[in-house]
């Protein structure tokens, strides 16, 4: 039994050909002159209990995907089937009222706790808000639950009456975690939850997220703009560029055998922590092109050092590798290229003997 088959029935979210095109308006009459193709035909599954990392440069559309899943945005086209008690439900086009029960199951953890917590509300009221919205429990029960949650995220019940400005950055993000978890969601979209924090507290918050996942059986979609954070928390990684998926693979495989030139470039941008020979490094240069007019063919061809003529005209589809069913890559040259890994299997074994 392969893991993919085993996981099949477990998928709690199946996204197919998701697109979100923001209209660009200009002129006095606000005519639509084009579209920002923030998410442009993306398909993937999320399995119950796993953590999927979603990685890409700034502007690649990660947040937009997250906001589609929690339905802050309505996708332009595509489907998002979410597993509920009544089976798979396509939440892509549901209206506000139909979404209400599903919102209990999907929550979002935001990047910057300074802007995701209302400065005029007390910590306790912030965490209790989702419970209040869904009218769960009496006021006393909600209070007890919030105090319990505060303990759980390592803050202590006496924080209930504090205001956000009275907390440190790490503590604020713990409040954010408590709020996201207060209505017991099954799926949590974590949008760069540690990138606004001090380096010294990033690990604490990541550990907290991992603990809570284990304890509550949560599923995470974990967004990050660099692979190093994702390495520790994700089971699988999806690499995206300009609104499209470039590669999806198990985390270890991404680091040991990247199959897409963009993945290789992202790996090369991480400072290397293990010794290793000098090798030709492919580093990203230039800016990500405008998502209003993405390059034809392979969207990455303007910055790809391996690009050939076919790359400029034909769009490579995301294909599962025949020799590796857990990996999908969108590159014409996937079989020809031999890309440099972040570390070899040997280096990895060296680094973490217990994992080998």
């Amino acid at each position: 039994m392969t893991p993919v088959e085993a996981a099949g029935p477990d998928a709690i979210l199946k996204i197919r050909d998701l697109r979100l095109h923001f209209p660009v308006k200009a002129g006095l009459l606000k005519k639509t002159v084009g579209y920002v193709k923030a998410v442009d035909g993306i398909s993937f599954d999320v399995y119950a209990g796993e953590t999927v990392g979603l990685v890409g440069e700034s502007g690649s559309g990660k947040t937009t995907i997250g906001r589609c899943i929690v339905r802050l945005y309505k996708p332009t086209t595509g489907s998002m089937h979410f597993r509920t008690g009544a089976g798979l439900v396509d939440i892509a086009q549901l209206d506000k009222r139909e979404l209400q029960p599903i919102r209990r199951d999907i929550q979002m953890l935001f990047q910057d706790p300074n802007s995701s917590l209302n400065a005029r509300m007390r910590v306790g009221d912030i965490i209790a808000e989702p419970l209040e919205i869904h009218a769960i429990g009496t006021a006393d029960e909600r209070r007890a639950r919030v105090e319990d949650l505060l303990e759980h995220v390592g803050l202590g019940a006496e924080m209930y009456n504090r205001y956000p400005h009275q907390l440190s950055g790490g503590q604020r993000q713990r409040v954010g975690v408590a709020r996201a978890l207060s209505i017991e969601p099954r799926l949590v979209i974590c949008d760069e939850p540690v990138s606004a924090l001090d380096v010294s507290v990033q690990a604490q918050v990541l550990n907290l997220l991992a603990d809570l996942q284990e304890e509550l059986g949560l599923t995470y979609v974990f967004i990050a703009h660099d692979l190093s954070v994702v390495e520790y928390i994700s089971d699988r990684v999806m690499v995206m560029y300009l609104g499209k998926l470039m590669e999806t693979a198990p985390t270890r495989k991404i680091f040991e055998r990247p199959a897409h030139p963009y993945t290789e470039a992202l790996l090369n941008s991480i400072p290397k922590r293990v010794r290793g020979g000098h090798r030709k490094r492919f580093v990203l240069t230039g800016d990500i092109p405008s998502p209003v007019n993405p390059p034809a063919g392979c969207v990455f061809h303007t910055r790809c050092q391996y690009a050939k003529d076919i790359c400029k005209t034909e769009t490579p589809p995301l294909r599962t590798l025949p020799k590796d069913p857990y990996t999908s890559v969108a590159c014409h040259l996937v079989d020809e290229l031999s890309l440099s890994p972040y570390y070899t299997a040997a280096e990895r074994a060296d680094l973490e003997p217990d994992r080998a």
């Binding site: 339905r71 935001f110 005029r120 989702p130 205001y163 440190s168 520790y232 270890r252």
Partner: protein
């Protein structure tokens, strides 16, 4: 096993520092000890001028609220013997003997100057009239309901009137009229701004939150209204108030006319605030949890906009007060028998009056003080808007 390629159970990230689940309460300084409200009050108290202005305004409003008590006479109490009386001097010392007394004044006697034919007033030094506190005088209704006749101060002799700021063409006490006039002038500011807040914030919130056609139409209307110079527009609107209306209606009409332009400024400000606030992550978090629009407006937008609205409103009060004064001064504002500061100033509309009876400018001084105090107050409140900056 549903984890793909994952490393399974043991995942401890200890690359930075020690793993620590319970962190200490982490309060670093007193700033963190204060609640949001306490921070705001602290900021306001730090601005001395604003505090002073606030106190001054409270006093002025109290005095006009209890006008009957603080004013020695009513606004219509005329005395044909003392027309255009200059301000009388309140004395403590007898200028001849040098003896000290409780406060008193000398009554004025009019004498026609046979060269200029002007009525000239001289003090009658023989008659020392003590000033009495809590003196019985003209009956009035305190707060418009309680009949009473005690005044804070006044002449002890009902036959000899005291005009500390002089009198007008019909011998009415200017000081009393200024206090009564303040009732109109200052309340026009408050009511005008209440309408401004109500209309401005509702329209501003709607156009900011929903945008679209409604917003487009509203913005064009506001641009059109604002492209007119303010005073002429006020004048045109005020002139449209039917002359046969009773004074109370005219008063209400003037309030509406003044609010008619002010709401545009507030509505723009609120719209801008809503546009920026609705993109804050805490609003997104509420939306993602399924909060209704009403809840978002109530719990997230209003608490974060309230202080901005209060500041803008405070700064709009003096504009309204000036507007009322200007209209009344020009004779198209409130109408007699109502009194307002602008209407009183109308006595000084002729240059020769200013030369002969300079005390007719006193109402202007009150307008000035009120306007300046409101501006300082607004400034102080502006500091409070962002209580988190130090």
């Amino acid at each position: 096993m549903n984890k793909l390629g994952g490393s399974g159970g043991e995942r401890r990230f200890s690359f930075f520092g020690v793993r620590k689940k319970n962190i200490e309460s982490g309060i670093q300084d007193e700033y963190q000890l204060l609640t949001v409200r306490q921070l705001m009050i602290r900021k306001f108290l730090r601005n001395r001028m604003a505090l002073l202005s606030f106190i001054a305004l409270v006093i002025i409003y109290l005095v006009t609220l209890f006008a009957g008590f603080f004013a020695p006479y009513t606004a219509r109490d005329a005395d044909s013997k003392l027309t255009y009386s200059p301000p009388m001097t309140i004395r403590l010392q007898d200028p001849e003997t040098g003896h000290f007394h409780l406060p008193f004044f000398y009554p004025l006697r009019g004498k026609r100057n046979m060269e200029t034919f002007q009525l000239e007033y001289v003090e009658e030094r023989e008659k020392r009239i003590p000033i009495q506190f809590f003196v019985k005088g003209e009956p009035y209704k305190a707060l418009g309901i309680i009949a009473w006749d005690v005044h804070l101060f006044g002449s002890s002799d009902p036959e000899e009137r005291l005009h500390i700021m002089g009198s007008d063409v019909r011998g009415r006490d200017l000081f009393s009229r200024i206090i009564y006039g303040g009732q109109v002038s200052l309340s026009v500011g408050i009511f005008g701004v209440l309408i401004t807040i109500a209309v401005g914030s509702v329209i501003g919130t709607l156009s900011g939150y929903y945008g679209g056609v409604f917003d487009n139409v509203v913005q064009r209307v506001i641009e059109t209204l604002r492209s007119f110079p303010q005073l002429p527009l006020w004048m045109a609107l005020a002139a449209a108030i039917p002359p046969q209306w009773p004074p109370e209606w005219v008063y209400a009409g003037i309030v509406v006319v003044l609010a008619f332009i002010n709401w545009t400024g507030l509505s723009r400000e609120v719209r801008g605030l809503v546009l920026s606030l609705k993109e804050r992550d805490y609003v997104h978090a509420a939306e993602a949890s399924g909060a209704s629009t009403a809840r978002i407006v109530r719990k997230h937008l209003i608490p974060n906009m309230a202080s901005h609205i209060i500041v803008t409103a405070t700064l709009a009060v003096p504009v309204t007060i000036l507007g009322e004064s200007a209209l009344s001064f020009l004779g198209i504002g409130v109408r007699p028998p109502m009194v307002s500061w602008g209407l009183l100033l109308n006595d000084a509309i002729k240059i020769q009056n200013i030369v002969l009876y300079p005390w007719t400018l006193f109402p202007g001084l009150f307008i000035l003080v009120a306007v300046i105090a409101y501006n300082f107050l607004g400034d102080g409140l502006r500091d409070m808007v962002d209580p988190f900056s130090r």
